[in-house]
């Protein structure tokens, strides 16, 4: 099945979405303040709906929402602090502050997971590799090989298992642990044998023949990308500062202060809703 194409950041160098998503995830992880978390969650949900579609998002929420509930409920049991007592559970008191902290942590976790899932849709593997190609050519090559070899190993594992299952004339007691050990024996021997041939193929094409290995770039970093990247960085820094201000005026324990309307939330809202907006704009152009 082919996944829907991500339009946002499609025409820019991968450094731009990488900086944007990296910064957004970082702020989302450290800004423990209800309004910022709510905004981040809303933005992440919108981006997820736009990039991954309704079905994939709902499928994810099936475990994410219970996780929020569990964290929200478990937190008061472990940190019984706060001042507004809600109930007594035997010898333990459940405080409103503690419950709110749990809910915020849960929501933050879900938002970060959603952001990372969106990132994997926008930053496909070959675009990530492009980023590291010049700085870390060997690491990039290894990642590329791993990306190819791991699925191959999984496919072979399935083949070994089903072949073994198909040979019923050889069957006796089918010990699951024995079958696992046998499978890993087969796979290791097979992979080692292949690696010799692969090494030959690499040397045949000049691997290690010169110190001055070059790197093929399939996309260029243009002036426009530089401009966009600096905009993103400035925006991120500004929002990080605003988030710091908001967080420093906020505490969960012992009592939570009153939330107020503040202009400083607006730039952050713009930032987190940007990918979904870009995606919708990209699509509406083709309607």
């Amino acid at each position: 099945m082919t996944s829907p194409r991500a339009h946002a950041f499609e025409t820019s160098h991968p450094a731009v979405p990488a900086a944007y998503l990296g910064g957004t995830v970082l702020i989302a992880m450290f800004a423990l303040q209800p309004v910022l978390i709510a905004l981040s969650l809303a933005g992440a949900l919108a981006a997820s709906l736009a990039f991954r579609g309704v079905r994939a998002t709902l499928r994810g929420l099936r475990w994410q929402l219970p996780a929020v509930g569990v964290i929200c409920l478990v937190n008061p049991l472990f940190s019984a602090s706060g001042s507004t007592e809600l109930w007594h559970l035997g010898p333990m008191a459940i405080y409103l502050e503690s419950l709110a902290f749990g809910a915020c942590m849960g929501a933050m976790l879900v938002a970060v997971v959603l952001w990372l899932e969106c990132a994997s849709r926008v930053l496909t593997q070959d675009r990530v590799l492009e980023l590291g190609a010049r700085a870390l050519p060997t690491v990039t090559l290894m990642t590329s090989m791993t990306a190819q070899l791991v699925p191959q190993l999984v496919r072979r594992g399935q083949a070994v298992r089903s072949t073994y299952a198909a040979c019923t004339a050889a069957s006796g007691t089918r010990d699951a642990r024995h079958a696992q050990v046998r499978m890993s024996d087969v796979l290791v021997a097979w992979a080692m044998e292949d690696s010799l041939e692969r090494a030959d193929a690499m040397r045949a094409r000049g691997w290690g023949s010169t110190e001055a290995r070059t790197t093929y770039r399939s996309v260029e970093f243009r002036g426009r990308d530089a401009a966009m990247l600096s905009c993103v960085v400035v925006f991120l820094l500004a929002n990080a500062f605003l988030a710091y201000v908001a967080c420093s005026q906020w505490r969960f324990y012992p009592t939570m202060p009153q939330l107020v309307v503040w202009w400083g939330y607006v730039p952050y809202a713009v930032q987190v809703l940007l990918p979904a907006a870009l995606e919708l704009m990209g699509r509406s152009r083709w309607r």
Binding site: L141, A166, C167, T168, V186, A201, A204
Partner: protein
Amino acid sequence: METDAPALAMRDLSFSYAVAEGVPANAPVLDHASLEVPRGAFALLTGDTGSGKTTLLRLAKPEVAPAGELGGSVEVLGKDVRSLEPAESAQLVGYVLQCPDNQIVCDTVWHEMAFGLENVGLPQAEMRRRVAETCYFFGMESWLHRSFAELSGGQRQMLALASTLAMRPGLLLLDEPTSMLDPVAAKAFLSLLFRANRELGVTVVVATHSPWTMGEYATCALRVEGRRVEEVSLEGLSREPELGRLRPRCRPMGSREAIGIADAWFRYDRDADWVLRGCDLTVAEGEVRALIGGNGSGKSTLLALAAGTSRPQRGRARSALSCRQAFLPQSPKTLLARQSVADELMEWSRTAGYGRADADAMMAHMGLAGLAERHPYDLSGGQQQLLALAKLLLTRPRLLLLDEPTKGLDLELRREVVRVVNECRDDGVTVVVASHDVAFLEEVAAQTSLLFDGGVTLTGKTGEFFRESWVWGRS
């Protein structure tokens, strides 16, 4: 560079493999062998398995040359290959191996094309030019950004060829490049190789055990025999030799049904396309049935349903022999789990109830005698196939499911598989075999079923089926 020097010249070449100290030296693989391949030639290198074809090819490419004692000279385009700088050698001589999967290094097509160019440190502009030109020449633009996993076997081998040619070698060496491909993909590959030879002027040397598939492209042929190399005529190589005499199929088929697959629908994922769409297949007990069809027509899937390792999402698949079956997958390595041939054959002795004497007898019967202590991976691909088959036969199956049993085998080993399958038939074993090898199927199968469009389109008597076929018929 001398302008009139041959593309490849080997003079008085002797070679024996290196051995550990204190061990008596190996017998030489090559002994004062000489050969000359003119520029622009398309040369076939033939010879029996183990005659030294691969060794000979590898000696012309120092990076992949085996360790051992070498005498004589190897010159490529007038240059001694042993005096070349590594980067120069990588660019002057290209080498394509047999297995497409093992020579692809990177995950995406464009990265793979650039891999060799990066290795020798070409500047950006030159790399772009080479990648673009190679893609254009092979018509690969549309799959430039695909990942390795999305490519078919034929496309993978084509990619291996393209990324080697992007280095612009003067001489291209290929070791059994089409033996792992189905006939259609093999023809597509060979026609590209031919174009590279004629239009780009690349000298080609192909080691092959099926020279008749390349007869129309070749300009000369060499044969490795008795540690020497001699030139042979192309005429003698242009016809496919007979696999054997067509034996009368005297054994009457049983009337009982061994496999009954009815209205089977199957796909690998909820959102994937159906591989089988209302497929029916009935095989009688004691019958040898061939399955033929293009790549992705569902042959392997149908075998999996017959084996019961996959279940149809709709319809039914029944097997009367499901408790006494054996399955030979495409790659014999899937079945090899032990450190020696003898251990391998004994793996199932306890559960299937046979002893050492049976295993020894089987080894002799399959022509594996004398290999008992060898590691299965030290055998040739063909011998591994026979070993896997021997291992299955020791369990005395009543239903044998074979997926491409002759893939990559030379003539002798194919004959061996024919003999084994026919013996199974004489013992009343039911056999279902999926294969592209028409000559092999004609020797073993009573009936042939054609898979197309998610089902069995046609079933007929094998001889008649191929005689009346337009595309599979042999002259």
